[in-house]
Symmetry: C2
Subunit: 428 residues, 2 copies
Amino acid sequence: MEKLKVAVLGLGTVGASVPLILREHQEKISQVTGVEILVSKALVRNIPAKKALAEEYDIELTTNYEDILNDSEIKIVVELIGQIEPAKTYILEALAKGKHVVTANKDLLALHGKELISAAKKAKVDLYYEASVAGGIPILRTIANSLAADNITSVKGILNGTTNYMLSKMATEGSTYEEALAEAQSLGFAESDPTNDVDGIDAAYKVAILSQFAFGMSLEVGDIEQQGIRGIAQADIQMAQQLGYEVKLIGSAEKNQGSVSANVGPVLVAKSHPLASVQNEMNGVYVKSSGVRESMYYGPGAGAKPTATSVVSDLITVAKNSRLGINGYLFNSYVSDTKLTSATEIKGKFYLSIQVVDKVGQFLKLTEIITGTGVSIDQLIQQKSANDSARIVAITHEMTKAQLMTVIDQINDVTEFKLIAAYEVLDK
Amino acid sequence: MEKLKVAVLGLGTVGASVPLILREHQEKISQVTGVEILVSKALVRNIPAKKALAEEYDIELTTNYEDILNDSEIKIVVELIGQIEPAKTYILEALAKGKHVVTANKDLLALHGKELISAAKKAKVDLYYEASVAGGIPILRTIANSLAADNITSVKGILNGTTNYMLSKMATEGSTYEEALAEAQSLGFAESDPTNDVDGIDAAYKVAILSQFAFGMSLEVGDIEQQGIRGIAQADIQMAQQLGYEVKLIGSAEKNQGSVSANVGPVLVAKSHPLASVQNEMNGVYVKSSGVRESMYYGPGAGAKPTATSVVSDLITVAKNSRLGINGYLFNSYVSDTKLTSATEIKGKFYLSIQVVDKVGQFLKLTEIITGTGVSIDQLIQQKSANDSARIVAITHEMTKAQLMTVIDQINDVTEFKLIAAYEVLDK
């Protein structure tokens, strides 16, 4: 059987799982592609450290990328180094040499996707990156293939496993933010510097890629409003539970009459909503559309084997395309003009949590602020805290983002009020 | 732009939605396929009844299939008549004439899939049927494309919206089986003869198709053990709720070392399991695999627009294939020898609900029967019922299907015992 040779850049846990999966499923893969896909070379930093692995799978190791670039037998480069450089240069060089590229690099696709996609188009080669969003969930391919006949109006996802794990622990075990973070770190879910996860940056990258597939719109990461879960209060998570909600870090992109709005932030998700059932380190992407109406895709968002499985499914696609002579078509061919929705058009229900000095009249003052901006209140609850402070929690009816800004400004103007949280509310 | 002409057989609610969706998303579809897909003819029984619709979309109506078959401009036939004949003959004739076929007909694919698939292969044309399983959920395409790099070990789905709606109502509103059925019928979810839904036949058809994609194995519908929800007791649903479970009608196919077992039946699904969150008329398919480990696909299982959206996504695939000159490849190209798992190898936890004459010693008698077959008991609960009868409920630890048969036989041998339910238990 014809062999299709692949080079892997980076033999970390994901990279090492690629040859494993190719070998495990060789028969099935050959059956659907008509070729034998194998990793023949790998770029590593430390050859001795990867020697045993290389011998097991008969992979030639190199520390010099030129060895891969100039090997005309290598038809596909799998980039698993991560971050921007040198990954970006490596990919551009591979594409220019006529090699297909498969990558799991969300940072790169979110920040430089346009440039990479146009380079692949110019070179008439394939560029696939299913694993860059929600690891093992085939969400990009699903949107590109199966929802092409549909009009997606919103995509909301639990896109970061680390923060979802932390929020699950805080809800079910009553852990504090610090305890949950320490536990996520000890399990290897969170990096020692958790910034990208807890500040919502990782989720924002994924929202940028999802928007491209769902709406054909290329959002800059800077266009995506970001609020993380850093320092999120146990009291707010418990209050949400009591009110029938789970607090989730949601990455969202919504279409409103030709424009799109995107953000990442903590959201109170009604327990009856499918996203509320996505627990621990799992991911879920909930899609609203005019045809199918609602669908959700659930699975692991990270992990070596799920991610490598996604990478290999991309390799299978490239192999099929090569066999059929149809390389060079875009992973996502839906393109539309990008226009951002203004804050006066973005609507939502919101949860406001405010620490107040515990004295008569505070309830009234908050009510006046909210109703004064023309917003009606769904629920208002006062909770006694320690010392002389209390916590007032309000859930509003639907309001615009512009109205929310006004309410927040006015709350901040009251010296006896301290705004703890302003989260969106997602009912079923 | 080049036009790709389609004929629709049957202009019911789904059929009428196909030209609507094609028109609504014409621009997006043309962008991804490079052609304009349009319905030019439709086969109907009553031309006057469909006249207004036909005029709106410029569709030529006919009551004679020959008009479609002999129209060489029609490249794709969409079969939406349902059931076996004349649908089967129509499809075979279209394939033989070199026309591609898209169908939503699960009965036909489950019962005669092999014959249709080999006819399409012989004629080198496309045959797609995404809408035949779980309506709006792109589960077949997902398994065929994205899980090709994976080894699926089990597929468990809520595949019938009618029965899921009924079970949801019984659980949340305390309705009896008869009330829930009447409500489903009044909402148009259930037919006046609900046999196919409530006896699990519809779900079994879908399991047969899913098995073909997940395991490459062609199961006969007769190989799929079927138990429906007809007459399911409110008492068992409430007991399940108390024990932390939702009762769901689950269609399941599992691989065990090269053989496969498949069945449809009521299952107690732990509330923490993703399938437990699939409520009302929604469908969900939960996939276990060695690479991705667990994933779930959630969406509407029926309805005109979701089903028609799936049909149009198949039309887009055929249009892309035609443009690239790659028609005639199988929707699912994974084929493996079919072997059924024997009852001594199928394992599970089970819930047994037994009506007993209320007197001392019954608890002991049931315990003796279960433990006598080498099975240990997880939970045992006795509930006082009306009159002189009581209900004993047992949840076992893992046992084989063969052991279950022995236990059931012995329960049936005790004149004071009446077995009400024997359902599998699915923990998270």
